[in-house]
């Protein structure tokens, strides 16, 4: 199997596993005192954590957290960003100028900083993580959609639709957005990887999901305290996180080559 095939399989397993895990009777908060910091056993494949909870069950539950946050944030960001960016480029004028300024202002906050500040001020919790990451996430898509729309809005078929009296809404949704969807799809794939890392990062800082719910980030944070005696507590969620992010990035690379989208200067930004 090629590494791209493998990465697609990993992504499918991640998404399916996340949702299927919700149907399984997981024991994410079952404390077993005699199993504290126990290494992998036949019964508990990935061992037990500092409270004796099974790491495997928590890993699956954390997978659901990262998957649901990533998919929600990317959906919100792509839809909001694409609509605002396309509208801005298509309408032009004052609206466009305002949008460009707002984009510039949001891009002035480096990396994950604004999300950390927002999540920190709004208080911990998964909803606030989704809000914070979406507030930061739409900007990249808006900028991309705007730039792409500017390059295609003077094409003949758009002008023809305009002359034929098509409504603006139809021109934007039927004639413009499908044309610019390839680079947005590629950017969205890389975006999933960024959001998975960002969610885990916020949870690592204690701003994400709260106990007893599990997130790969909070599992890594809790595990670092016992790294010497029980390295599996960090390695299990760490390897899972890396494998998923690597798979999504590889799939994004492949998609970009296949759809022939020129590399974006901000690729790989996390």
């Amino acid at each position: 199997m090629s590494r791209y095939g493998l990465s697609v399989w990993i992504i499918i397993i991640w998404i399916l596993g996340s949702f299927v895990s919700q149907l399984l009777p997981l024991n994410i908060s079952q404390v077993e005192l005699e199993a504290i910091l126990q290494g992998p056993t036949l019964e508990h494949w990935f061992g037990n954590d500092d409270l004796g909870r099974p790491v495997f069950d928590r890993l699956l539950s954390g997978s659901y957290t990262s998957c649901i946050v990533a998919l929600t944030v990317i959906c919100i960001s792509v839809i909001t960003g694409t609509v605002i960016g396309t509208l801005s480029a298509y309408l032009g004028g004052l609206f466009d100028q305002v949008v460009v300024r707002v984009i510039d202002i949001f891009l002035a906050f480096p990396g994950i900083l604004l999300a950390i500040a927002l999540a920190g001020i709004m208080g911990p919790g998964i909803d606030n993580v989704v809000i914070a990451l979406s507030v930061v996430g739409w900007v990249g898509f808006a900028r991309l959609a705007r730039a792409q729309t500017l390059s295609v809005k003077h094409r003949d078929h758009v002008q023809a639709a305009l002359v034929l009296g098509s409504r603006q809404r139809k021109i934007i949704f039927v004639h413009l957005i499908p044309l610019i969807s390839a680079p947005i799809l590629v950017e969205a794939t890389f975006g999933v990887a960024s959001v998975v890392i960002a969610e885990a990062g916020l949870s690592f800082l204690g701003l994400g999901v709260q106990a007893p719910d599990a997130s790969w980030g909070s599992m890594i944070r809790d595990g670092t305290r016992y790294m010497l005696v029980a390295p599996h507590l960090v390695l299990a969620p760490g390897v899972a996180l890396m494998v998923v992010v690597l798979a999504v990035n590889l799939a994004g690379d492949r998609l970009r080559d296949q759809l022939d989208v020129k590399a974006n200067i901000k690729e790989g930004e996390t």
Binding site: I121, L228, I265
Partner: protein, 309 residues
């Protein structure tokens, strides 16, 4: 050139004003009463009133914004709610540590990325290229809050070579700098590879080769200088990733910089300090990017004549 500089400066000023407004509004984005968030819902009425008075929250938002701006212009960022120390003093204590970490990480990233990118570009499609790009993909995919603990486990706990945390001498900066620099090195090496590959097809490279210049001479004297421009811009943009990542890296290593101050203040609900940290980090990023653009325009006349980047 002057016209370009002025227009760039003007757009920076607009962005700075926007950033200040957004940072000011952060505290008002809190659902409910920010004073409740800071003191808890069971606080005494008198304490709430005192805090509201201290933060100026009893005035209309527009008045608060104006006084925030006028205080900022005088270098007054308010006082910490927790320690009562002026925020500017707290920042002054922390900024050197973050600058030190950022600069060393940046240098480290360049030292790793340039050889990696050049070797990959010169051996396109071969084993060297695949190995280098595989390594860089791994670097992009490993988050700093995982890399940091792993490095501590190997180099501090098992091997005992380097300190686990804190800022005490040269040895203590090595692990945080590697943690922070790895992702940057990964992105940078990919960028260097792709820009070099574009440049290597140009006519002047063929001419240099025809003159009999060695492979390395062609790269160092002809290809790299021309590939440097987009790389400089990328470095400016990536500084943002570095500054944002510093928040997590500093927390992992208890590095006493502005990033750790941000997280500590979030945990203590010391919002004036959080606001100031976010503001200072973002403004640094904006100013560095403005300077990068200006250097870029100074080096490449096509940009200042075009008038826009």
């Amino acid at each position: 050139m002057l016209r370009f500089l002025l227009s760039r400066l003007l757009s920076t000023v607009t962005v700075v004003i926007g950033v200040v407004c957004l940072v000011f509004l952060l505290i008002h984005l809190v659902p409910g009463d920010p004073v409740d968030m800071m003191l808890g819902e069971n606080a005494q009425m008198a304490d709430r009133d005192a805090l509201r008075q201290a933060l100026g929250l009893n005035q209309p938002v527009s008045v608060q914004l104006l006084s925030y701006f006028s205080n900022l212009l005088q270098g007054d960022l308010g006082n910490s709610l927790h320690s009562r120390i002026p925020v500017s003093e707290l920042l002054a204590q922390r900024i050197p540590a973050t600058v030190e970490l950022a600069v060393i990480s940046l240098l480290l990233a360049c030292v790793i990325a340039f050889p990696l990118g050049i070797v990959a570009a010169l051996n396109k499609g071969k084993t060297w290229d695949r190995t280098a790009m595989g390594a860089s993909m791994l670097g992009v995919s490993i988050p700093n809050f995982l890399l940091g603990p792993l490095l501590i486990l190997i180099f501090s706990i098992y091997l005992g070579w380097l300190p686990v945390s804190g800022r005490d001498g040269l040895a203590s900066i090595i692990l945080p700098a590697i943690t922070l620099g790895t992702a940057l090195a990964a992105v940078l090496s990919r960028m260097i590879r792709s820009t070099l590959l574009e440049v290597l097809h140009e006519d002047y490279i063929r001419t240099a080769r025809a003159k009999g210049d060695s492979h390395l001479q062609v790269v160092i004297h002809h290809a790299l200088p021309n590939a440097m421009l987009p790389i400089i811009t990328l470095l400016g943009l990536q500084l943002g990733v570095l500054l944002g990542g510093a928040v997590i890296t500093e927390t992992v290593f208890s590095w006493p910089g502005i990033g750790k101050l941000t997280i500590d203040s979030i945990m203590k609900r010391d919002y004036p300090v959080v606001q100031a940290c976010v503001l200072v980090i973002s403004l640094t990023y904006v100013v560095v990017n403005m300077l990068t653009d200006m250097v870029y325009a100074w080096i490449d006349p096509r940009i200042r004549i075009g008038g826009r980047i």
